[in-house]
């Protein structure tokens, strides 16, 4: 689909030393993500999908291989300080000592934007996700769903080349999760930012993504890829469509073996 390559992951391996053993988390993963593509990484727990995301975010150094992110020419001039990635965490990872507004302004502050300008921009982002009334609140005063809205707003305010999401709705109850999935779809469908989205929910992957990459049990390698050819904008009713159900079942059949393998393999 997308003509331009945004992320190129080449032969990435990750091996780390736990207290008891050397653990191979990722074994030679290669993946190309197009500009504006929404790719979901799906796999059993412990398959290294979060590690892969952290390698793309440059929080982890791969044992071998490389990751390249190509800056866009249309969205901004080179050297304007836009970060390559912005990560949305399952545990929100908001700074408890900062108000909602200051949390969202954090990435702008870090790239040296004058405080006033940063706060104005952060305010604009808050408005877009409907958080303006909570700008002065502290994270602990908000519910989980609201906190993750702030987490997403912070990532959007950073204006990254690539948005990375690590099971962002995994800690939320089912209803809140559905609402936030809808919101994410609306925001994404209007911006078409490149997204790499880690999840263990097949339903979530099918509902949100253009393409689903299935990782095997540890050491994680790419087992299969699925194109989701549901039209955009996506909506709830599609969950009842035959193609939706069929794809979900196909993926589950491929995933089941990996889940079994992951369950019996030793914990690192």
């Amino acid at each position: 689909m997308a003509a331009l390559t945004k992320i190129e992951i080449r032969d990435v391996e990750h091996v780390y030393q736990s207290d008891f053993a050397t653990v191979a988390a990722l074994a030679s993963v290669s993946l190309t993500v197009g500009d504006g593509e929404f790719v979901a990484l799906l796999g059993p727990s412990g398959c290294g999908k979060s590690s892969l995301l952290r390698i793309v975010a440059e929080l982890l150094r791969p044992t071998a291989g490389s990751v390249q992110i190509f800056p866009s020419s249309s969205l901004g001039q080179p050297g304007n300080g836009r970060p390559k990635t912005a990560l949305v965490f399952q545990e929100y990872a908001l700074f408890p000592w900062r108000t909602v507004l200051d949390n969202v302004a954090f990435p702008l502050e870090m790239r040296g934007m004058p405080r006033h300008e940063g706060l104005t921009r952060a305010g604009t982002v808050l408005e877009r996700v409907g958080l303006q009334p909570f700008a002065r609140a502290y994270p602990h005063q908000l519910s989980g769903g609201m906190r993750q809205r702030v987490g997403i707003a912070r990532a959007l305010a950073a204006e990254p080349e690539v948005l990375l999401m690590d099971e962002p709705f995994g800690a939320l109850d089912a209803q809140t999760r559905t609402v936030l999935q809808e919101e994410l779809l609306r925001v994404w469908e209007s911006e078409r930012k490149t997204v790499l989205y880690v999840t263990h929910s097949i339903d979530e992957a099918v509902y949100l993504a253009d393409r689903i990459v299935l990782l095997s049990a540890r050491p994680g390698r790419i087992k299969a890829e699925y194109l989701v050819d549901l039209p955009r904008p996506r909506h709830m009713e599609m969950r009842g469509w035959n193609s939706y159900t069929k794809l979900s079942l196909d993926i589950w059949n491929a995933l089941r073996d990996e889940v079994e393998t992951a369950m019996v393999s030793e914990k690192p």
Partner: protein, 262 residues
């Protein structure tokens, strides 16, 4: 918090204090407590006011408060620096750990002979003695504070562009601050005990010295005045630290206060 709860927070402790003092007073006046050992609260209060009017008391209070603050600062600054380093760099931790572990269990007052052996019976000797255990306590707590920082907060800080010094000032320090203050509160308590103890041994001025002197010349009312003032000063400095914590950490109001409401 409702008005009702707030008023109960005031009325219950006031009532119990008043009742205890009244019972004491009555026991003394009926002769069930000997006034020579347990002077009546009204007598103690009377002595307190006359000493306050003479001006002598204020010197003692100011001296003890000054010593407490000075020794506390001598503990806080290097203690925090060492502790944060120990928490962040494994090398620092391994290097400092044996020394900290060895010195930590020694009661601070036990350092006094050693300290005055080097520094003489000087003001510096007093301050240093009162600073040693608080320093170790703060260092241990600060190291634990850094280790307790959630990994994802550091990841968020890094991913959103903080590194080096800015990672320290914008992420590590504020994330550690609540735990640091828990250490500061404990250290202040220990520092207060040692300050008064050292004053009793070696100082003419200060509340500890005043208390000891009153006992030696058997001015029992004055002895009690010393106790009361030491208690009040403890309350005041604790409250001061709590107020500072609230001011520095508006996201953590009442961190150092337990409310017992559950």
């Amino acid at each position: 918090m409702s008005y009702r709860v707030l008023s109960r927070e005031v009325t219950i402790p006031l009532t119990t204090s008043f009742v205890m003092l009244a019972v004491w007073e009555i026991l003394v006046h009926t002769g069930m407590l000997r006034a020579a050992f347990f002077p009546a609260p009204t007598n103690i209060a009377h002595t307190l006011f006359s000493l306050a009017l003479s001006g002598e008391l204020w010197l003692h209070i100011a001296t003890t408060l000054g010593r407490l603050i000075a020794s506390f600062l001598m503990a806080v600054i290097p203690g925090t620096a060492l502790g944060l380093s120990m928490g962040w760099w494994l090398g620092w931790r391994m290097a400092a750990d044996p020394l900290v572990r060895l010195l930590f269990p020694i009661p601070s007052i036990a350092f006094f002979p050693v300290v005055i052996f080097y520094l003489g019976l000087s003001e510096w000797g007093l301050l240093l003695t009162a600073a040693i255990t608080p320093f170790l306590l703060i260092a241990v707590q600060a190291a634990a504070a850094v280790e307790a920082i959630e990994r994802t907060l550091l990841e968020a800080g890094r991913n959103y562009g903080a590194s080096g010094r800015r990672l320290f000032t914008r992420v590590i320090l504020p994330a550690a601050l609540p735990y640091l203050f828990i250490g500061y509160r404990l250290a202040l308590g220990v520092g207060f005990i040692v300050t008064v103890a050292v004053e009793m041994i070696a100082a003419k001025h200060g509340l500890g010295g005043f208390l000891w002197h009153s006992w030696q010349i058997l001015r029992i009312e004055e002895m009690y005045v010393g106790l009361v003032l030491i208690g009040l000063l403890g309350i005041v400095v604790t409250y001061g630290l709590e107020a500072l914590a609230d001011r520095l950490m508006p996201w953590q109001v009442d961190l150092l206060r337990s409310k017992g409401q559950r």
